[in-house]
């Protein structure tokens, strides 16, 4: 693991932000030149997948699964991500709305693992009375 982690050290050449800007190019000089944007400080799905692989190899499979879901969620814009979380809170969404959320994750964002996770939640919520009453 010592030759992979930390990525900042061992993947310095290939590590990129969500914007595609190499981590090595996130500098005060670029900031001063007005070149940096918020996306330059956002983690890319690839980096999260790399961290997930590291966590899995080190014996942390649940953390790895979380980081894979996170990799998928990098594609979701901030405001929608907040809404998705809100939908998953108890009593907020009907069963159908939860299934729609799962479908949107899968179809719009290619978030297969997260979509399945939401489907699983939908089934549990239904059986445990945690869904919103159907209007």
């Amino acid at each position: 693991m010592d030759d992979i982690y930390p990525l900042m050290e061992h993947a310095a050449d290939t590590l990129c932000a969500a914007s595609g800007r190499p981590a090595a190019a996130i500098t005060l000089e670029r900031l001063a030149a007005g070149e940096l944007t918020d996306a330059d400080l956002r983690i890319a799905a690839d980096a999260l997948r790399a961290q997930a692989a590291i966590a899995l190899a080190a014996g942390y499979p649940q953390l790895a699964a979380n980081l894979r879901r996170a990799a998928e969620l990098t594609a979701v814009p901030n405001a929608e991500l907040l809404r998705m979380y809100e939908t998953l809170r108890p009593g907020r969404a009907t069963h159908a709305e939860m299934l729609a959320l799962a479908a949107r994750l899968e179809e719009t964002y290619g978030a297969i693992e997260t979509g399945a996770f939401v489907r699983e939640a939908a089934a549990v919520y239904l059986s445990r009375g945690l869904t919103a009453p159907t209007p």
Binding site: L41, I43, Y60, L67, R69, E120
Partner: protein, 760 residues
């Protein structure tokens, strides 16, 4: 036994009246009541451990069939348990796993492998076999990160940005690896997070920061780059408590992934007592419910947990075994591979003795974060409800580390360094406010923040204007980059670079791994590059003496260098002045048969030392003793004993020479004894060991009494002020003065001294 109320007034014990006033008796103590969830461990209603797996799926867990599972059971069964090892783990006797926890020959990984296959009831059953000492050994081994650390709370009642920045900078300087803030008024959240970000990165680059607020708002702050971790993702051990907390295991897990998707470290929060407090304990013990919380946390993919009862701490502490159970929950978290920020945060006791004793259970073994919030501000400014340890305890904490050679994660700091870093942070946040067009921070506010102890020392701000600006700031695109750029433009280049580096680290995500912190030297300068330490590159490898984390080398030197520590080399100097020319050594002292008193002095008397520990000139002490002897109509001869610096030996040698058989032994530091020929050396007539309290009047009384013994007249009691603390205060000086006297020992018989002195 009669009840207290039935006792008559004359039957009241004065001792019990004093005990009733003690701090410990401000606490509430209750007997267990399982039906109300008021039992810390082993409720008769706790389930027995069991697990049945069919076709790769859990069909029964802890005595419950899958059809009867609630949402937590389902989540634990399907996400938390490692089914590849579960059968083996459940078949291993719990006592055997308890043994493995304390056996230094069993590596951490072997215990963790089995623990990850244990159901909640099984985990609790393992702990049932362990006392606190065994649990501490287990914790030292199971802690995730090898290097222990600590977290600070920085808040203030006025939510003053300059004070927040200054206190955050001081906390960073003092070595805290994380700083958590929160709000009094929720709308202030973005500004509080901003001030703590700027402050910490002034004190030391790489300190992780968070702002504890409602979940959605917390995520928004993280998205803006104002925080780098989130901790208050609370989970509960029953479904009803969970839902009252407005979440489910799935929504919490989604939130954790959402944070991670923005490169933000996440830690869940749980702790004994929360379910009972929320009325949903379902007759189960606090520890069993906490085991469920921990498995939900694990299943959700959180890298760690803040547990140890946290804000509920007084509830388990009201019950028998409460503090043990809190240690047990820390151990359980570590066993299953969760980073553990181990409580010691919320106000837990009125009694400093009880607080400190409880702390030792985490402090000595070391945890990933000893406190999940050491209040780096005064109690009243702590918006988490008052810290158990706060800014007023910094020195105590540093001394405890120094006493035990234990790394509690808090560096000593000098007043000069603290003032410098507070000024820099206050000026930096002033510059950020100016650069972003926020309501200005005046020079007077900056000046107040530098020297302030609490928000009482701070001027009031226009709260309405600040809140309106905070709303606009939250809604705007401004974030970490804007802040870094404002700092750079104002000339705070190093702080800007530190903040940008936190953004760059976010891109790598190395600190999303278990128990990650950044280490870097103190100060904004030279903080980069940051070095991440986590379970991946700093796994705890404790395997008994000589292994694992050891406080040694430069870190140990830094922790022992408290500002109060002084060189003992000049302790003796105030006790060495010019020798009195009125005291002259004549030659060999001979025995006599006259009715006299001998004053036998130590080898350093009036030469290598000239003043007693109380600062009295030797000459004056001698004059006082001789005056006392003269008061009784006798005379005294003075001899200097060279062969010993021991008081009994000096007095004994004097008595051997004395015509009356009575001698006063006097060490150069002032300790005195009245000795008599024929007594055993270590016996005496009177001993005056409290030399710091002896005055010239006492020495005169000692002289009088010695003469009365010689005359066969009953002695009068010598009044000596009793000061029990003198020994504590002066023991180093006592040792050094005695050492100086011992250095003067020479192989020659007692010598007679001539003292040019006449009684008044």
């Amino acid at each position: 036994m009669k009840r207290e109320s039935e006792m008559s007034a004359e039957n009241k014990s004065r001792r019990f009246a004093v005990l009733a006033e003690r701090d410990i008796n401000k606490e509430t103590f209750v007997e267990p009541w399982p039906e109300a969830g008021l039992i810390v461990a082993d409720s008769p209603y706790d389930p027995r451990p069991s697990l049945r797996i069919e076709a790769g799926r859990v069909v029964e867990m802890d005595g419950k069939a899958r059809a009867d599972f609630d949402s937590l059971d389902l989540f634990i069964a399907d996400h938390a348990l490692d089914l590849s090892v579960a059968a083996e783990a459940m078949a291993t006797p719990s006592l055997q796993i308890a043994h493995m926890l304390t056996d230094i020959n069993v590596p951490q990984t072997a215990v963790r492998r089995l623990a990850c296959g244990c159901t909640p009831a099984k985990l609790v059953e393992i702990i049932r076999h362990m006392n606190v000492l065994e649990m501490m050994i287990g914790l030292a081994k199971m802690r995730v990160r090898r290097t222990p650390a600590n977290q600070a709370h920085v808040t203030n009642w006025k939510e003053h940005p300059a004070l927040l920045a200054a206190d955050a900078a001081e906390a960073a300087l003092r070595g805290f690896a994380e700083v958590e803030t929160t709000v009094r008024v929720a709308r202030n959240a973005p500004f509080n997070a901003l001030a703590v970000l700027v402050g910490t990165q002034t004190g030391r680059g790489g300190v992780l920061t968070q702002c504890a607020v409602e979940e959605s708002l917390g995520l928004r702050l993280a998205m803006k780059g104002l925080t780098t971790y989130a901790e208050t993702l609370s989970v509960y051990g029953t479904e009803r408590a969970f839902v009252d907390g407005d979440d489910t295991p799935w929504s919490k897990a989604f939130l954790a992934a959402a944070y991670a998707s923005r490169g933000v470290k996440v830690r869940f929060t749980s702790g004994t007592g929360s379910e009972a407090l929320m009325g949903h304990a379902e007759r189960c013990s606090m520890l069993y419910l906490e085991a469920r919380c921990l498995l939900v946390t694990k299943g959700a993919g959180s890298q760690g947990v803040q547990n140890g009862s946290i804000s509920c701490i007084a509830l388990p502490e009201s019950l028998p075994g409460g503090v043990r159970a809190v240690l047990a929950e820390n151990l359980l978290a570590s066993m299953i591979g969760l980073e553990c920020a181990s409580g010691n945060d919320a106000l837990a006791s009125h009694s400093t003795m009880r607080k400190s004793a409880k702390l030792m259970l985490q402090f000595i073994p070391g945890t990933d974060f000893i406190c999940s919030g050491y209040s780096a501000v005064p109690k009243r400014d702590n918006l988490f409800g008052g810290g158990n340890f706060d800014a007023e305890d910094f020195d105590d904490w540093n001394v405890l580390q120094r006493d035990m050679q234990v790394d509690g994660g808090v560096l000593p700091a000098t007043e000069e360094a603290v003032l410098a870093v507070r000024e820099r942070a206050a000026r930096a946040i002033q510059a950020v406010y100016a650069g972003l067009g926020l309501p200005p921070i005046t020079d007077a506010e900056v000046a107040a923040a530098i020297t302030a102890h609490s928000s009482d020392d701070m001027p009031d701000r226009d709260a309405v204007a600040d809140l309106a600006a905070a709303d606009r700031f939250l809604a705007s695109d401004a974030g970490m980059l804007t802040v870094a750029e404002a700092l750079r433009r104002a000339g705070f280049v190093d702080i800007a670079a530190n903040i940008l580096e936190m953004g760059r680290q976010r891109v790598a995500g190395d600190y999303l791994q278990p128990a990650a912190i950044f280490t870097s030297p103190a100060g904004a300068e030279g903080s980069r590059p940051l070095r991440v330490l986590s379970a991946i590159n700093d796994p705890n490898d404790y395997a008994g003496p000589g292994t694992g984390y050891r406080l040694e080398g430069t870190r140990w030197e830094a922790l022992q260098a408290i500002r109060q520590a002084q060189s003992p080399r000049h302790f003796v100097a105030p006790h060495v002045g010019p020798s009195s020319p009125r005291l002259v050594e004549l030659g060999l002292a001979r025995p006599s048969t006259r009715a006299e008193i001998i004053v036998a002095v130590g080898p350093a008397f009036n030469t290598a030392l000239t003043r007693t520990i109380a600062g009295l000139e030797h000459e004056a002490v001698l004059a006082a003793i001789l005056s006392g002897v003269a008061d009784e109509g006798l005379t005294a001869r003075i001899v200097k004993v060279y062969r010993s610096s021991d008081l009994a030996a000096i007095g004994y040698a004097g008595a051997e020479l004395s015509g009356s058989g009575i001698a006063i032994g006097l060490q150069s530091r002032g300790t005195a004894v009245i000795h008599k020929r024929g007594l055993a050396r270590l016996n005496n007539l009177e001993l005056f060991p409290q030399s710091p309290s002896l005055t010239l009047e006492t020495y005169r009384a000692i002289g009088r009494n010695a003469a009365r013994y010689a005359k066969g007249v009953p002695p009068a009691p010598v009044g000596v002020k009793i000061d029990n603390w003198a020994r504590l205060r002066l023991i180093v000086k006592t040792a050094l003065l005695h050492r100086r006297e011992t250095d003067e020992i020479a192989d020659k018989p007692p010598q007679e001294l001539w003292f040019d002195w006449e009684p008044d």
